[in-house]
Subunit: 402 residues, 2 copies
C-alpha cells in the first residue's frame, strides 16, 4: 500500500483545464456504468472523439484509476472491445465512531470492501481520546491488511453529531457525550503521515451508500430522507443524489424533531425528540430488554406476544409517523429510507407507518409516501466516509495521475 | 395597456443564443442594482465590451424593459452618464386568494405597485367558482386602471394550498375547503385573451418578496424559512434566494408540522398541526376574540392584562418553537421570517421564541436562530405572483423585444 499526496492539483488544472475536465468525465463515465464500458462507448456517451477518449482512458489505466478486464467477444467484425472497470488499486479508508460501534474499512473505486474491522460496544459518555485511540488502532490493523499495490487516495471519519468539517472539529455528539473534539490530534498517531481523515456526519455518510451503489454509480434512490437508527436517531436529506448540507453543514437532524413537547428530556437539551422513542436505547428500554439486545430479539419478543415489546414498537412507529410526516410536509420528498436498527425493524414498522403518513402528509392523496429499508450493511457510514474521499478523486482525478 | 404574446422565443433563441443570453444578463444587471447603473457600469460588471453592452441596452430600452433616467453630473471630463433603470412600462398581474383576503395587483419591472384592489372577508368553505369570479372581477378593475402605454408580460395566482402548476390545478386548499379546482376556467371570463395566470402556493410567492426587494434585486434575506400567518399557516424554504420546490412543488408546508399528536384535529386530516395553535382563527378563538379581529387588537388585549389573550399568544409561541425547531434541525437554516399576522405579532413572540429555539435547535450554541418580521405588505403573495411572472422575462427577455 502506498499513501498518495496530491502534487499541485491547482497548477495541473491551470496547465490544461480541458484535459482535467475530460479526464474526470471519462472516469465518472466508467464508474457510473452498471456494466463494463468500452473506449468506443465512452466516446459516444461523452461526445469526445474516439482517439481523445482512448488517450484519456490510457492515462487513467496507467494511474490505476481504471482497469482493463479480459476482452470479450466483440462485434462480428473488427477487434474485440476491451471492457473498462473502475480501478481496483485505488481505495480510501472509511472510519466510523458511534455510540454502539466502531468501524474501519478500506473501499476501492469499484465499491468493494478490501478490508474491515468492526467492534461493538457501548461508548455512551466515553472519553474521546480513548475511543479515538481505539478506532485509530482499528484503522492501523485494517491498513496493514491492504495489499502492497493498492494506492490510498483519502480517508474519512463518520461521527454521530454535528461537525465543522472545514476546521476538523466535532462540535457536539449528544449520545457520545462529546463536544469540541479534534480527532486528527489522536488519529495522527495511527494513520500514515499525510493521510487526514475528513470529518462527516454519520447519517449523511450512511445516506451516500443509498444514493451511490458504488463510487459515482447511482444507487436505488436519488431523492429521499434517510433515517439512521443508532443509539440515537440521525438523518440526512438527499436531493438528486446529493446530501443536503444546509447553511453550515448541519442539515438532516431528524432525530431531534420534536414528537411531543411534554415528552422525556433528550440529551440534546430539548424534550420529546424522535430519538427518545425510536432510538435503539429508548426502544429497548421501553420493551424491557437489555440495551445491547438486537433488533431481531425485539421483533421475536413482540411476535411471541410480549406486550411491552409490542407497545415499544408501536410507540416508536407512532413517533416516526409524527416526525417523518412533519419533515415530508416541509421537504416534499416521496421516500423515506430507514437505516441501522430501524432498517432491521422496517418490515414490522412499514404498514402502519405508511398508513399514518397517508393521514398526516398533506399531499399523500396524490403521492403516497413510501418507506424503504436500507441494505443490511452493518457500518454504512464507514463506507460513506470512504465514498466521500473517493468522490474527490472522481471530481478531479488529475492530481492522481502518475 | 397591451397584452403581450411572446413571439416564438424558442426560434429567436436558436437564431442567436449568445445575444439572448447577453440580453438577459444586461437586464438582470440593471434590475439587480440597488442604484441606477450606466452602460459603462454594465460593461465592467458583465465583462462585455462597451459597444456590445450599449447595443443590448438600446434594444432593451426600445422594448421598454429598461429606461433611461435624467442624466446626472458625470465624471469631471466627458459626457455625463445616462442612468439606467428597470422599465416602468413592463408589468405583471398578481392575484391572491386566501381564506381571509382577495387581492389583485399590477407590479412593474422596478417593483412598483401600479394598481391594486384588496377585499377582506371570510372565504372558509367558500364556493370556488364564486370566489374566483370575485377575484377575476378585481383583476378586471385593476387592469382597467393600468395606463395605456403599459405592457402586461404575465400573470400569476397565489393560492393557500398545494398546486400542480404545470397542469393549472389547485389540488387541495384545506382552509378554503377546495380541492381539484382549475381557476383558469373561471378567470378566463375576466382576463384579456392570452393572459393565463400561473398558479403558485401563497407562502412560496410571499417568500419571494423577502428574497427579492424588486424583480431580480436581492432582498433582505437569502436563506430563510418563511412562515406565512394566514387563517392557517403556510410556509416556504428559501435557499440562496430561491424557493425550494421539493419533488412535486409542494415543499414548505410548515403549518402542518405536528406540534402535538394528541392535539386538535386539523382540516388537513391530521392532528395537532402548527396552524391549530398559531393560525389566525385558532389564535383569536383561543383569545376569545372574534375571528375577524386584527393582530393589533389581540396584542392590545393581551397588553391590557387579559389572561386569555396572553395565554393564546403563549400557546402560539410555544407551538411555533416546537415546529420551527424541528424544521431548523432538519434544514440547518439560521433565519425564520414571520409574515402575515405572525409578522405583526413578531415583537411579542420574538424574545421567547428565540429563547425556546436556542434550547431546541441542536446547533444553536454555535449559531443562534433569529426571528425576523416580514414587511407590512398586506398582500405579499399577490406581489410574489407578479414577481414570478416578471422573473420569466428576466430569465429570457428576448421574446419581449419589439
Amino acid at each position: 500500500m502506498t499513501i498518495e499526496g496530491r502534487a499541485e492539483p491547482q497548477a495541473a488544472a491551470r496547465q490544461s483545464t480541458l484535459r482535467t475536465s475530460n479526464l474526470g468525465l471519462v472516469l465518472r463515465t466508467v464508474c457510473a456504468a452498471p456494466d463494463p464500458v468500452s473506449r468506443a462507448d465512452i466516446a459516444v456517451s461523452t461526445g469526445m472523439t474516439r482517439s481523445t477518449a482512448s488517450r484519456l482512458v490510457d492515462d487513467l489505466v496507467s494511474a490505476g484509476l481504471v482497469e482493463e478486464a479480459e476482452r470479450t467477444a466483440g462485434p462480428v467484425r473488427g477487434r474485440p472491445a476491451t471492457p473498462l472497470l473502475p480501478g481496483r488499486t485505488a481505495a480510501a479508508l472509511g472510519l466510523q465512531v458511534d455510540a454502539g460501534r466502531l468501524a474501519a474499512r478500506v473501499v476501492d473505486l469499484g465499491g468493494r470492501v478490501v478490508a474491515e474491522r468492526l467492534v461493538d460496544g457501548d461508548w455512551v459518555g466515553s472519553d474521546p481520546g480513548t475511543t479515538l485511540d481505539q478506532v485509530g488502532g482499528l484503522a492501523a490493523v485494517v491498513l496493514a491488511d491492504v495489499p502492497e499495490e493498492m494506492r490510498l487516495v483519502g480517508a474519512g471519519l463518520a461521527l454521530p453529531g454535528i461537525v465543522d468539517a472545514a476546521r476538523g472539529v466535532l462540535l457536539r455528539a449528544p449520545n457520545l457525550g462529546w463536544h469540541d473534539v479534534r480527532p486528527a490530534d489522536v488519529l495522527a498517531a495511527h494513520l500514515p503521515a499525510g493521510l487526514d481523515a475528513v470529518l462527516g456526519n454519520e447519517a449523511d455518510l450512511a445516506a451516500r451508500t443509498v444514493a451511490e451503489s458504488a463510487p459515482g454509480r447511482p444507487g436505488a434512490h436519488r431523492d429521499f430522507l434517510y433515517v439512521s437508527g443508532q443509539i440515537g436517531v440521525g438523518g440526512a436529506v438527499v436531493l438528486d443524489g446529493r446530501v443536503m448540507r444546509g447553511n453550515a453543514g448541519w442539515a438532516g437532524e431528524v432525530g431531534h424533531v420534536c414528537v411531543d413537547p411534554d415528552g422525556p428530556p433528550c440529551r440534546c437539551g430539548s424534550t420529546g425528540c424522535l430519538e427518545q422513542y425510536a432510538g435503539r436505547h429508548a426502544l429497548l428500554a421501553a420493551a424491557g430488554l437489555p440495551r445491547d439486545a438486537s433488533p431481531d430479539l425485539l421483533l421475536d419478543t413482540a411476535a411471541a406476544g410480549d406486550p411491552r415489546a409490542r407497545a415499544a414498537l408501536d410507540v416508536a412507529r407512532r413517533a416516526l409517523a409524527v416526525a417523518l410526516a412533519s419533515v415530508l410536509n416541509v421537504l416534499d420528498i416521496p421516500t423515506v429510507v430507514l437505516g441501522g436498527h430501524l432498517g432491521r425493524l422496517a418490515t414490522d414498522l412499514r404498514p402502519g407507518l405508511e398508513d399514518d403518513l397517508a393521514t398526516r402528509v398533506l399531499s399523500a392523496r396524490w403521492r403516497r409516501p413510501r418507506i424503504e429499508a436500507a441494505g443490511p450493511d452493518s457500518a454504512p457510514a464507514a463506507t460513506g466516509a470512504a465514498l466521500h474521499a473517493l468522490g474527490d478523486v472522481l471530481a478531479d482525478p488529475v492530481g492522481w495521475l502518475d
